[in-house]
Amino acid sequence: MTDEMSILAKYQPWTSGPNPEFTEHAKRNFSEFLKQQDTAASLRPVKIRARGRSRLLVVALLAVALLAAGGVAIGIIGDSVGYVGPVTPITETDGLSLVVQESNIGPCLEVRKADDTMSGGCGVDLSEPLNIGVGSIDQTAFANGWAPPTTARVEMTFANGEAITVTEFQSIDDYDVLFFVIPLPAPLTEPSLPVQAAAYDDQGTTLASVAYDDVRDRAPQQDE
């Protein structure tokens, strides 16, 4: 190591490390989290890698399973999250349907296939100008989300350098945004994160941009 690196190495801030009580607490919480993942996996009717809020997703998946089994509309499910309105189809491409459905905690934006397999999340905040979700169903990876109403294109760049441009959008009544869903090419069968995205109008002006480090973290990063 040369001098400047030696100096840097010597001036590492002292750390106390986690105390045993906190470590036990954290370990217990993480163990509980893993057990929930285990239970969630066993509930899933098909292999689904999902975007969105994982807790809510599991509830939504359960809803689909129950609907398929009983054919009965479900109001409140599990920990008080459930659909409260009809399904509104938005668009369909390559066997993937993008739908929106109201729930008691806000809109559910979901990508579905004909066999009722789905990926999505409820309680999405449509006041965000731009939002991107990525996921896969049966080895078909996709990106979906919404953009400002004057958007001409959305450009997404994934961690592996793949760039995707979306130019087809759909608007529906009651929502002041443009929705989209697009299958991702073969190299992105497993969506690569982080993803960065920007929406542009037809003049090339940037309308909104986001960068997600993790699909569970869907809040736009704030520039400083």
């Binding site: 001036y11 590492q12 801030p13 163990s31 989290f33 961690a159 993790d214 400083e224």
Partner: protein, 199 residues
């Protein structure tokens, strides 16, 4: 009973059995916690260290399994992304370390020398943290991963998922910048101020 499986084997097993990932937590919790604490302080570490493992669990399918290697650099990469999101806190933490940290020099025999060395060290640390704050955040994280966590350039490349050549060129520039800014310190006695370092 001691689990002799490698990190790669544990992560692979967790694909079918999520609770297996708890072993990764047990092995690397302390290191990850100290990593975050060193960047952002104790309170932030208590908030964020667990989040590193949750994110790692969600991403385990994309973990590049290399037999015989530790997954700690991978965890550092996730932690680094979280730290970068808190970059204002990082600057504040560095400043706080400069103001409040107590320094424990090694090889200082008497109280007067101890005090003198401590004062020197605090002054030096102030310059070091000021120099760090002039370097772009990604290069700074690369420097700290090498200097503080002992990662190789290749491991840094893995952390950021960028080519090794990019790491080399960024670190070359960052080190040159640091060398210039720390130039007056280079002449100091090598062990005049060594911080106690817990590993």
């Amino acid at each position: 009973m001691e689990d002799s499986r490698s990190d790669a084997e544990v992560i692979e097993a967790s694909l079918g059995q999520p609770t297996e990932f708890g072993r990764v937590f047990e092995r690397h919790w302390d290191s990850v916690f100290r990593f975050v604490e060193g960047r952002l302080g104790l309170n932030a570490a208590q908030d964020l260290a667990s989040e590193v493992f949750r994110i790692a669990f969600q991403r385990r399918m994309s973990y590049e399994i290399v037999e015989g290697t530790s997954c700690l650099p991978w965890l550092y990469g996730i932690a680094t992304n979280l730290v970068l999101k808190e970059r204002r806190s990082f600057a504040r933490h560095l400043a706080a370390v400069a103001r409040f940290s107590r320094i424990t020099p090694q090889g200082v025999g008497d109280h007067a020398a101890h005090v003198a060395a401590s004062v020197d060290s605090e002054q030096i640390w102030t310059q070091v943290q000021a120099a760090l704050n002039t370097i772009d955040e990604m290069s700074r994280e690369m420097l700290l991963l090498v200097a503080w966590e002992g990662l190789s350039y290749q491991q840094v490349a893995d952390v950021f998922d960028i080519p090794l050549g990019t790491v080399r060129s960024r670190l070359y520039r960052a080190r040159a910048q640091l060398r210039t800014l720390l130039n007056p310190l280079v002449e100091l006695p090598a062990d005049s101020a060594i911080r106690e370092r817990k590993t």
